[in-house]
Amino acid sequence: MLHIENISKTFNPGTITEKLALHNVSLHLAPGDFVTVIGGNGAGKSTLMNSIAGTYPVDEGRITIDGTDITKWPEHKRAKYIGRVFQDPMMGTAAGMMIEENLAIAARRGKSPTLKWSSSADSRQHFRELLMSLNLGLEDRLESKVGLLSGGQRQALTLLMATMAQPKLLLLDEHTAALDPKTAEKVLSLTDKIVKQQKLTTLMITHNMRDALKYGNRLIMMYEGHILFDIDSEKKKNLGIKDLLAMFEKAAGSELNSDSLLLS
């Protein structure tokens, strides 16, 4: 499905702030894989995700989705295959527009916009049904501006928007990190439900080891711009946080020093 071959990315090359963010990273995702990604600050998790999404170009390497080479594609063109939810609840929706308008845009992800009126009675009914599945009462608020929603509601809506046009790949970049624990839990279980229902190939960054172990069928740990280890579904089932830490120390040759990762 997703094939990443030896991608590298250096920020600010040739300057004092030069930073090698990704170093020869390769990763293959089979259709339906739900991979959780953990790692400390600066490990390259977000860079990996942004490289796949095309937020910036990679320096070297190749990225293909279903055999299509997308390495040189601009961000908006890749959106045809990729649905995304960001860490910042503000980033996935247009706050000043109605829920209905946001959904209408997402429903046509990857298609060229036409001069057809953006919403119809049919689409509205469809949106209502989709919103009903979120269980947040949003189905009666199609004409509310998204800016009026809470962070959790916005992330749930963004999740719906990212998945409603069946993406080949779903990218979740710490999409619950900005939410309170209870809301985060809700959005995560909703994520799990949607991913399983649609059998979506998914890459989810999380800063929470427990969530990384609980969700998905694969887990990768990143460290200093490369993938430290890749745990498959059989091994993952019986793994605890302590095992993860031990594996990290053995592979990296140092102790894991990320508070956010350890404390959560």
């Binding site: 109605m98 990857g110 036409t114 009126w117």
Partner: protein, 292 residues
């Protein structure tokens, strides 16, 4: 009564400028100074064509097209060449000064004795009422077209680009194209406004663009404050009414004896005050709460 009719019709003719400024300043979230050049560009194009014997409607359509081109230039400068939008607009505006002189061949082109959009049809009304009626029809049609366009998939994408470029890119839309399209539409409207004002005033002048951005902003802000921003439709109506109220304010202060030379200063202060209002209000609330 005459003054009221004159004020309203001036407000209507300038309302297209206000809608244009609204499209960039609010919808795209860009302060586009191209306006100061595309307004006289529309006037110059229309006046020149009318003097050359073309039908005023043709002249207005041609003005619209030249304005759109000006918008595209600014759009390409700021998207393809990454020049900050403010500077890109200034560059186009300065360039247009020369272009406008080229089009007219001189700094001022009178339209005396020429057929204009306000004289070709005999509606059985005097000149002022005709201006009002034709202005109202044009504004109504333009507002309706805007309402339709910004409700379509393409128009929604343009609006979303202004609100959140990340979101719209993640949904597969090329934001560069949307920005160029927005600037194109905005400056097309501004040029039509220039063409209408020139025909109403009876001349086109190379200097008539000075301060138009501030007039547009004043209309947008006055409209938003007085008439609301609930939806896009609401905003459109607000901006049109804002333009009329702005003309009324100007008429009133002139009646009260303010020298016309001070008008631009007055407008600038008005806009500066309105733009700093949210911050001043927050400070004021804080002080009041602190006092308790």
């Amino acid at each position: 009564m005459d003054l009221v009719i004159a004020t309203v019709s001036q407000g209507l003719l300038w309302a297209l400028l206000a809608i244009g400024v609204y499209l960039t300043f609010r919808v795209l979230d860009i302060a586009d100074l191209t306006v100061e050049g595309s307004f006289p560009l529309g006037a110059a194009t229309a006046a020149t064509l009318i003097v050359a014997g073309y039908h005023p409607l043709v002249a207005i359509l041609a003005a619209c097209v030249t304005g759109m081109l000006a918008g595209v230039v600014t759009g390409i400068l700021c998207t393809k060449f990454k020049i900050p939008a403010l500077l890109a607009g200034i560059l186009t505006m300065i360039a247009l000064y020369s272009v406008n002189l080229r089009i007219m061949g001189k700094a001022n082109l009178p339209l005396l004795q020429q057929d204009t959009i306000f004289t070709i049809w005999n509606l059985g009304m005097d000149k002022m009422m005709t201006t009002l009626a034709i202005g109202a029809v044009i504004v109504f049609v333009v507002a309706l077209l805007n309402y339709w366009f910004f409700g379509t998939e393409l128009g929604t994408a343009v609006r979303a680009t202004g609100f959140n470029p990340h979101m719209i890119r993640a949904n597969g839309i090329n934001t560069d194209n949307m920005i160029v399209l927005g600037l194109l539409l905005s400056n097309g409207l501004v040029a039509i406004s220039g063409a209408l004002v020139a025909q109403s005033n009876g001349f086109a002048d190379v200097g008539m663009g000075v301060g138009t951005i501030v007039i547009g902003l004043a209309s947008v802000i006055i409209g938003e404050v007085l008439f609301g921003t609930r939806s896009f439709k609401n905003c459109l109506i607000s901006v049109i009414l804002g333009s009329i109220v702005y003309r009324a304010v100007i008429a009133i202060v002139l009646q009260m004896g303010m020298p016309p030379n001070d008008l631009k200063l007055f407008t600038a202060i008005l806009v500066a005050l309105a733009l700093s209002m949210p911050l001043l209000q927050a400070r004021w609330n804080k002080i009041r709460k602190g006092g308790r």
